[in-house]
Structure formats: C-alpha cells, structure tokens
Symmetry: C2
Subunit: 389 residues, 2 copies
C-alpha cells in the first residue's frame, strides 16, 4: 500500500464525547493522523493527559486560571497554552491544520467554526448548533473560501454518504431517521412525570447530556432538519423524519426513480467521526463489531408522534419563519435543557418554554453574525426568566 | 431542462417479463428512448404489436415459418424480419444501438450477448445465465472491447448503485438479499410435496416461470452469487446471502469502516430496468408508488436455511470448483426446472438432479466458449435422462 500523508487534526471540544472518540481513533491510526491543536473547557486534568499523549502545538482551556496552571505543568514541552473565547478561535485557525473537528456543544462553537471556514479549512462538524444558528451564513462563507464542511452527526454523515456518486438533481427526498429516544410511545400524560435520569438513559447511543435530552424531546431531530436544510442545500419540504427505534439505518436519500439509498451501521460514533476525519479515504475499523442483520432480525419504522413530542413541530415552524428564528429555538432549547438538567423545570416545560420564547421574537434577516448573536442573547435571557404559569 | 439525446435500445427477449417492462418504460419516455431492434421467441402476435408500436428497423423471431408470416404482415413497413440463432446475433449487434437489453432466459442468450460485448456495446444484462455460464469470458471480452455491462437483476443493480461514489478497495462484503421465496420456513418433509402452482406463486415479485421456480428452490440466489463474483470482480468469500422476506432491501455493500450502503425500493422491476437503460441519468418514475417505510413497518432478516434449500450450496460448490462447473449447474438447473414445470419430477428432485449431474462432470477451463457449450450440452443430456431412483 502506498504511504498516505498524515492528516493534521485540530479539535474544538477535545474532552467531550465526540472529541474523545476522535482522539481514540487518532491513537489507533498514528500513521494517518497527528494532532495540531486542542480546545477543551474545564476538564483540565483530562486535557493535560491528552496533551501529553498527542503533543499538539497549541491547547486552549476555558478559564484563565486553569490556563496558567496548565502552562506551568507543561513548561518545557512544545505545547503553548491559551484560553477563553479567543483561545477557541486560535485553536480553530491553528496553522498546519488539515481538518478541524468542531465538536463543542451549543452556540459557543459558532465563532471559532466560522473563523476556520473563513480560512478555507475543512471542517468536520459535530456541533450541530453552529449549523442551526448560522447555517445560511456558514454555507455562504464556505462557498466563498472554498472550505469543505463534512457532517459528523450520524444522520447527516449517512446522507452525505448516500449522496455520493449520484447527481443532486436526481434527489427526491432526504429521510432522517430518529430513534424516538427513551420515551417513544409514551403519551403526553406520562411524559409530564418523567425524570432527569430517565431522560438521560438513551436506548442506543452513549452521548453527552445535552444531546441525550434533545433526543428525549426529539428537538435533536428538529435541529437536524434545520441542519440538513443548510448542509445539503435542499428545500425544507424535501426533508422527512421517520422513527426507527433500532438506530441501525442512520438516514436515507430517495431518488427520483424511487430507489432509496440507506446508510446502515452499528450505533457507534467512531464510524461517522472516522469518515469525516479521513474522507475521501475510509479507515478500516476492523476491530468494531460488524452489523449482523440476520442477528438483529428486525428493523422497524413508524411515523413520529408530533403531539407527544411538539419540539419537532417547533423546529419546522422556525425553519418556515426563517432568519433569526432557528437561532432563537436553539438558544431557548439550550437554556431549557440546562434548566431541566438542574431540576428547575419539568420535561414538558422544555417545549412550552421554547414555544413561548419563539412567540415573543420577530425574526430578522441573518446575513451577518451580529443579529444572530443578539437574537441568541435575548432568547437566552427570556428563557432564563421563563416560568411555567 | 436541456434536451437529452435519445438512447437507441435493442432488446433480446422483448415479449418476456423484463422485455415488456422495458417497452412500457420506453413508451412512457418517448423523448428519451427509441427502439432499434427486437428479438422474441414464439409469441408472434405480441411481437407484431410491439413492432407496430415502436417501429424498430429489425425484428427476429425463433421460427423460420413465423418469420415468413410476420414479414408478410409487415410488408411495406421499414422493419426487416429475421429468425433463429443468427437472428438473435443480428438483433444484438444491430447498428445504431446505444444499449442492448439482454433479457432472454437461459443459456440461449450467451452468443448474442457476447457478440454485443465484442462490438463494445453497452449491455443491460437481465439474462443472469449468461454471467453464470460465461462470466469470466464475458468480463474479459468486455474489458478488451470497452463494453459496459449494467446489471438489471434487482440485487445486482442494487450492488452496482451501492458501489457508486466509493472506492473498490474499501469494499468489505457484498450482501445479496433473498426473499426466501414462497417456501421460506418450510422443512424438507413439506417441501417434498409442494406443487408447481405453489412454487410459481412468489410472494413479492411478478416474474417469469423459470425465475419463479429458481426463487422457490433458492437456486436463483445461487446463480446470483456466481453472477456477482464476475460482475463486480470480487473474491467469492466476500459475498454473503441474507434472507429478507419483504424484498425491500434489494442488496447491500459493506465497507471497511463498518458502514453498509443498502439499496431499497418497492419490488417493481421497472426501477432497475429504468436504471440500466438510462444510466448515468435516472428517470423520474413519479407514477410508481413510493417506498413508505413507516407504513411497511418492519424489515426482517434471517440466515438462509441451507439444509432445506440445498441449491444455494450447490452453487457455492460450483464456484469453488470453477471452470465449466457453473455452466453445468446452470444447464442442469434449466432442465430440472423445465421437468418440474412439466410435472415430470418433484420439487426436491431439482436439487438432487443438479447434484448428480455435477458429480458426473470434470470441470475444464473456460477461456473459450466452445468447452462451455460442450459442458452445457452434456449436462442437459444427463439432466434430461436423470431419474429419481
């Protein structure tokens, strides 16, 4: 086999679920990857261990005091330490980066990801809120700079793959699959009493807390509809959602002749992360369990219950209203999920809160980042002050 | 939309199941296709109606007397009439053909299909016995002439599509799906007493008699394994079979990263026929029912029962023995199916006959057509004389 040049990877969110999955892959394929820069939040001990293992030239943490302490500990190494919002941008635009894995959670990833896109860097995008809040803006800037955006989300990665080798004009529908989350089949009455622990217990995926709650409310799928609209530049009416509890079919593309290309795999984020980091090469992940359909036995599909899970419709409505409204939905959802995780509001309050915050917002055009950040800030404030009566 | 040049189509087997499906498509898309030449067997009234509708420049029927009568009826038109084995080759090599649909049933399609391949003509191949009997030879000749072979079989068409946009070195497995036929789940004891009518009653597909019986014995899948080995130039060990009773997933390709590309569609041969005729364009078949997975509800998968359906293993063994052995399996199977359809032998005798004929054959190399035809002839003779005691 011919020697392959190493890809130089930088990671925003290196201690999160996607970040650690990526670093585990990079460790397994030392001939294929090296690490240029890492950014983490407050898990300083973990990021220190990552720096010692992967020896990036730059590392950033959230807090200035943590950064000082880490710099002290890394004295004498070739790794420079930085911090805060500026540190995220520095990591995102680190020289000698072939692919930036954008894997922060929430709108905090927006500015650094846009900075990498403006530089023309390939972005492996796991931070779906970036595309939800600023999809139009990001795609326009990527077109201008020539940056490529490769989706890491299993659903969008599946659609990306299912589009390969086909002509865009032949696409009839994008079909996003949804596991339905831990509460699939429950009526609204029962959803009113579900707990934080039940909501965090996803049947198929081992994910971060925010995404687990989004999956339980199905807002996760709502955000993915918005994301798909921009990632694949399609009319929202061509995007559909089907519930598929086994999470084996990760999404599908239907073509004009009626054929449907479905991307299947075991539910393991290593696969889409590896795809996005190594594309157009595929890594041989022969150590993973294989998909054995005869053993799986059954794949089932059903229409989503939009009455029990109103977040799906909220996202559709935000896409129809356009402009800054998706940013408002995202911001309100982030705050609502945080408040639910803090036992401050109930499960069904999440959708009620988002609906109320949306009702109080007049969408504005989003051709610049400022009005988006402003809408985001206002929505967070109203979401923080929301109460259930 | 830009004007598209019309594809000029010739058809071997125009009155069969695939041939009529193709002509129905061509009639629906008069701006995309025109018909150059047609070959049929003994259904003279039907082929006459086809000639009147599509006005090809050449038509061939099996019998010389039929040809004479047809020529009389078509006097004054621009359609020339020919007949017999030479007529098939004439149709297959008709000038001004962009794509030949090779849709005869059985080894009779071998010579005309090879003739088209030698000319460098694109061949839409529905006649799987051609690839089973002479796969190696046909692929070598296609490589030499530059002819392209596009599979029409729903399974191979699915694999062809699932390979698009991917690198061949990244393929880990080809997974052929099998409906399991009308007798899926029956034990051997019950299979001993099944009738011709039961065997012809396929649960999902409306097909010709020969293919329906092959599906009931699962020899259909055995022949498809051999076909896939040559069509996609893969080691036989990378081909697997999984039973999927709903016939919605038409086949799959697994890649080295563990992702599986599955091609789904409603079970309607219009879709793969349209694909093979129009490739690399796709036709908009908006009049067909769409695949509605939420309504379908469940896709199920199971391992094949090779004890109840020994034909699958016979085909694997033939591929392992190589040379002329696949041709022998195909010939013995054709005769066995004909004898079963004539109520001359029982259902389980089909596999017993093929096994006995295989046991009596020493495989020889198949770098020319002559030894293949010789093996074919001998196998047919022994299969005709076989009796169950």
């Amino acid at each position: 086999m011919a020697a392959v040049e190493k890809k130089r990877v930088s990671i925003l969110g290196s201690t999160g679920s996607i970040g650690t999955t990526a670093l585990a892959l990079i460790a397994r394929f030392p001939d294929r990857f090296e690490v240029t820069a890492l950014a983490a939040g407050r898990r300083v001990a973990e990021v220190k261990a990552q720096v010692e293992q992967f020896r990036p030239s730059l590392v950033s943490v959230a807090d200035v005091d943590d950064a000082r302490e880490l710099a002290e500990q890394l004295k004498g190494t070739s790794t420079r330490v930085t911090h805060g919002a500026a540190g995220l941008v520095e990591v995102a635009t680190a020289p000698d980066t072939d692919v930036l894995l954008s894997a922060l959670v929430g709108a905090v990833g927006l500015e650094p990801t846009l900075a990498a896109v403006d530089k023309g860097c390939t972005v492996a995008l796991a931070n779906k809120e970036v595309m939800v809040v600023a999809g139009e803006l990001l795609c326009r800037r990527a077109a201008a700079s020539g940056a490529r955006v490769l989706p890491v989300d299993s659903e969008h990665n599946a659609i990306f793959l299912a589009l390969q080798g086909h002509r865009r004009q032949d696409v009839r529908r994008l079909v996003l699959t949804a596991s339905g989350g831990p509460f699939r089949g429950l009526p609204r009455e029962k959803l009113a009493r579900v707990t934080r622990e039940q909501a965090l217990d996803h049947p198929n995926w081992d994910m971060g807390d925010k995404i687990s709650i989004d999956s339980a409310t199905m807002m996760n799928k709502g955000l993915e509809i918005i994301e798909a609209r921009w990632l694949f530049d399609v009319d929202p009416s061509t995007i559909e959602v089907v519930v598929h509890p086994q999470s084996i079919v990760h999404s599908m593309v239907e073509y004009v002749d009626g054929s449907v290309v479905a991307l299947m795999a075991i539910p393991d984020m290593s696969i889409p992360v590896a795809c996005a980091l190594s594309w157009p090469d595929l890594l041989d992940l022969d150590y993973l369990p294989r998909l054995d359909l005869a053993r799986a036995g059954t794949l089932s599909f059903e229409a989503p219950d939009t009455k029990a899970f109103p977040c799906l419709d909220l996202a559709w409505r935000a896409l129809a209203l356009g402009g800054s409204m998706p940013a408002v939905v995202n911001a309100a959802n982030e705050v609502a999920v945080a408040r639910f995780l803090a036992d401050d509001i109930a499960f069904l309050d999440i959708a009620a809160l988002i609906g109320d915050v949306m009702a109080g917002h007049q969408p504005v055009a989003c051709d610049k980042i400022e009005p988006l950040l402003e809408a985001d800030g206002e929505a967070r404030e109203r979401a923080g002050g929301w109460s259930a009566d």
